[in-house]
Amino acid sequence: MSFFGLLARNRLALAGLVVMLAIVVLALVTPLLPLADPDVTNTADRFKRPFEENVILGTDHLGRDLLSRLLWGGRLSLAVGFASALIAATIGSAIGIVAGFYGGRTDNIIMRGVDMLMAFPYILLALAIVAALGPGLINALIAVAAVNIPFFARNIRGVTVSIAHREFVDAARLSGMGDARIILTEVLPNVIPVIVIAMSTTVGWMILETAGLSFLGLGSQPPQADLGSMLGEARSALITNPHTSIVPGAMILVIVMSINLLGDGVRDALDPRLRSGALSRPMPNTLVRRKEPVPETKNSALLALSGLKTQFHSNGRIHKAVGGVDLRVRSGECVGVIGESGSGKSVTALSVMGLVASPPGVITAGAANFAGQELIGATYETLRRLRGDRVAYIFQDPLTALHPLYTVGEQLVEAIRAHHLTPKVEARNHAIGLLKSVRIPNAEERFDGYPHEMSGGMRQRIGIAMALANDPELIIADEPTTSLDVTVQAQILSLLSDLRRERGLAIIFITHDFGVVAQLCDRVAVMYAGRIVEEGPTHAILNSPAHPYTARLMACVPELGRGRRELAAIPGQPPVLDRLPEGCAFAERCHKAMEACRAGDISISATAGQRAVRCIDPKFRATDAVR
């Protein structure tokens, strides 16, 4: 969407723009309006109230017409505010660009000076400058512009530094362009949006500051008056005739507020990070909006997912991340869920306990039954009591998954005490026991360590210890070994395998690695484009994959000691999740695809030996697919 489109969509910013435009137009036409002379005093008509004898806003302490003074004063305040913003932006940006573009010593010296100026309390510096130059509107303007220069210099320098070493600048340099030309034609156009943002967020400030200096008697001098000095003069009559204060004060408020509204709008429209709406926080639970009837689940297993659909709704698009998943996990069983990135395996795992970030995530259909309890659509408190107590998670990246500012001990103790009223000492002992059970050496010392002091493998052990804290029945491990070194991966896998045997844990293991599945899982489900395409006992599927996608996926895995074998990447790309094709989502990339594959939904059908596959022509051996 275009900049102006975005701005117009933001209703508050639009309101600010309208008010601002109205004020600017009013300021421009003020000399043409049939107003009384703002400076003509008439002491006989002092302190007239608004609407008294045809004076719309009344008169001030010298009998001057307030409406006229307000418009002339507003005009002056606006002019001074914008002028100082323009001066500060021009000089500050120039300094910032020079510092950022040349870098090195130039940068160092300039930025030291800027930091020095920023070490001053803002208004104090303006006061010192006015003290030196003497009171007066132009001097106040200079002072306010001067104290804002460091702000622009610092912001613009930062952006320039990031641009100065980009390819197009290097290219310009190689083509023999001079520095001045590079700055003007290559750097400046890229910096301008930032200058605009910085200006739009500071103009309001500068109007306030110049008005403030005038209020103190250091800005505009009588009889000339901007809004600030009008307020300053009215102050002595505040109690007897408050309208003389309220009129200019309210005007400043309206001007600054409309500018701030507009400035926020401009910033939101220009800042690409805010544009995508990425800055919205996930709610404690995934949103559930089920329109279809909820499927009945008769659950003999520990966890049964049926018809689970999770989507991401953003910017008017719907990404069908999970498009109807059925999965059963029995007590003590380890089920692998395997697929490429974007296949919906992690989203499936997070949907179970309502941990999919929402917005944008929405669960639109399906049910998840855990030990007789329905999870999808359950209240927050129901889910919270189960989370970490009976169903625990292990996440992919242990560095980001642990809180950086609490010790691992504190985080473990918290996991325990979130569900059990354990006294602190007992919880501590239990936590140290957990650390030992995941084979962390010097558990007592590590208890007081922070995550950043540990290695990746160590951190993931902490993550596992945390998942074990309350002896859960089910652990959902979301690619727990993906971010680790291969040797560490093997350690973590054998640890999980041992723990599982000792404690009778059920595990859902999300991965994209067939090797991991083979080592750990009893059964495996293969996901593609948000649906399970094949499911069955691990050894059966590894020996003879029935779905062409499974076969292709396995062919991508290099094997040690198997001599030279052709590695076959799967041709094409996975389908886009907001425009899934009709029929089999893999048809586009499948070498066996036929007419019937693209016509209508293909259901998952059971084949011999507890296996199920979503393909109309599943029976062939793995070796055929590779060739």
Binding site: A119, A128, S245, V256, M257, R281, Y393, L405
Partner: protein
Amino acid sequence: MAGYILNRLVSAIPVLLGISIIVFLIMAMIPGDPATAILGSYATPENVEKLNRDLGLDKPLVQRYFIWLGNMLQGDFGRSFSLNRPVLHEVLERFNGTLILAGTSFAICSILGIAAGTVSAARQYGLADKAITFAVLLGISIPSFFLGMMMILIFAVNLRWFPVSGMWPIYGARDLSSLISHLTLPAMVLATVATGVIARLSRSAMLEVLRQDFIRTARAKGVRERSVIWRHALRAAMVSIIPVLGVQAGFVLSGAVYVEIVFQWPGVGRMLVDAILKRDILLVQGGVVFVAACYVMFNLAVDVAQSLLDPRIKT
């Protein structure tokens, strides 16, 4: 830790020197002759020359700077000609008043701003968020001198809840309760803008943090949502909020000028404005350097607080 503090203290020295140079240079820009300003336009040339010699103004700029700096380091900020007393005595006395006002305001804006920003982020797009966002917009758009005047009109003149101005009652005991009743309105007014700015930044810092993986971990652990917000998220957000508090302390300290004028509060800001209007340069110079130095020291304390909060900072 002690080493870290010492390190920060040493690194503050060039900043303090830079501040003194900037102030000195600004004051040296003053057109005209301070001696004439002091003695008035009817002074004889001999007297002007004698005063210039007494004040050391006949010496070169660099030498004058070092004399001024040396004197300041010995606690001699010069003598205010408009008040006819040592600058340092006046500044210290007035700074006391500013410190009470600005300190209270700073406490108000920190607590209120962080709380409002946190609630706002936790209830993003909800009613509380909208109300806070609007209040914040109003708060950062209203000139503090206008707000102060309106507060006086409403709460002091009409409702008579608080005194109109000053720091102490003219008659009566100078006890804590009378100080609080005098302090309430100006402290609130001074805190308004900073509260808005802090609330805004806290909100966006919280939104940033709430999207992080460790928040999902906390939720997956079954930690209560209240604890997720106020313990996990806010603690992490504080790392980016605290530097903002440091900057806002500067705004509160110098924004006190307006509030001191409106509420007739005996503080440094009002003293500075009077001194500027009377062109009492030594008083301005001394006051500005003193307050700026205090601000540098405060920011140093902020850095130390930051390092205590974030174990990842090497101390």
